[in-house]
Symmetry: C2
Subunit: 203 residues, 2 copies
DNA sequence: AGAAAAAATTTACAAAAGATAAGTTCGTGA
DNA sequence: TCACGAACTTATCTTTTGTAAATTTTTTCT
């Protein structure tokens, strides 16, 4: 993919909206960062990072959808779905300095801008605005993680399903129900019952 | 509390262990940061931050234990317990720029070093090593948050109780069971049943 | 120390979720 | 377009949790 494509993405209204939070950054800061990234096309059902790897890749999703999951006793547990303008990377490798126990798998054909964390750090060390951008970005990730977590604690599975419907309507048709069930912390069978209950109560 | 006390805390082995992750910081960086903080004694059962407030306080716990909880329909939901060398602050106020819907309440007499987030930001802008320290610290917080979250998704309430026992034995005697139950996502009644089951299986 | 309040446990019952199995629908590729 | 496999739904049975109320234990306060 050539630089023309990057340009068109950077100029899209979606990217501009994402970007609004980081107005202290200069355009040349952004370009310095973007220039260290490589575009990667990740076809549906393929992995970006596999459990067991030690990878410091940081993927910024430009297009598509990826699930972040853990495999335990043959069961897969989806923690979160990452979509456009979100980040896919292994906090275990980068922060905890361990091999990752999680995997990232594309649910759709996905386009990523892929960075190397160590290279990003070098850049951050040279450019304090980028360093701050890095911190703000992580703070956003933390805030979003808490928002996801709180739904598991405050709401019943049925309420979580309704919340998901109203909060992520655009993901409803992109995420297979078995993965949604896993994300919600129930079995696919149970999700199916919940959907039936909800449908019946609205007849 | 005078500077002598800060000195003795900074020289404690617990603090040194916490500090080992941030070896790129110079001692004068640390002192510059510490000097902007104020010591606060927070008696048991008192709030550090109350739901509804807009507070950018950042409390670094030197001693004691605080619960981070949310009130919904008269029920309290504990998301996490913060102890020594962890941070208590409102991500909603700081990151999302909203009033907080969460509260922090001391479960023990607690000693905090309290910063103002905006003042911290100024300091970070002047000192890139501190800026990086800020980012690393948040990254650690995110990693810990995911580790807490994953237990809710991967494990049953009974397994969560056993995990808590082995992972936080030092918190077991510090956290009342009703708050532990809330943290585990079950009612106190259910936790009581779980404890009985576990005890019976070990007879 | 003793009274009052809060916390923890126990019991009974109702509701929901898990496991398993079987049947149906949907999609994809040959 | 047909056939195969994956995804989803339905049914049955078992286990666990939630709610409510009563009882015991622990903590707090005077």
């Amino acid at each position: 993919m050539d630089s023309l494509d990057i340009q068109s993405i950077l100029q899209s209204s979606n990217f501009q909206a994402f970007w609004a939070d980081y107005d202290f950054l200069k355009i040349e800061d952004l370009m310095a960062l973007v220039n260290t990234g490589k575009l990667q096309q990740l076809p549906k059902n393929q992995h970006f990072i596999q459990a067991g790897e030690f990878s410091k890749k940081v993927g910024f999703i430009l297009e598509g959808l990826i699930r972040f999951y853990h495999l335990k006793d043959g069961e897969e547990y989806n923690l979160v779905f990452k979509h456009e303008f979100q980040m896919a990377s292994s906090f275990e490798c980068i922060v905890l300095k361990q091999a990752t126990s999680y995997s990232y798998e594309a649910l759709e054909d996905t386009l990523l801008l892929v960075f190397d964390y160590d290279q990003m750090e070098e850049l951050f060390a040279q450019n304090q605005r980028l360093e701050r951008f890095g911190r703000y970005f992580i703070q956003q990730e933390l805030a979003m993680a808490v928002k996801v977590f709180e739904k598991h604690l405050f709401y019943s599975p049925e309420e979580r399903y309704l919340k998901f419907l109203e909060e992520y309507p655009h993901l409803m048709n992109r995420v297979p129900l078995k993965h949604l069930a896993s994300f919600m912390g129930v079995t696919p069978v149970s999700l199916s019952r919940i959907r039936k209950r909800v449908a019946d109560n609205r007849n």
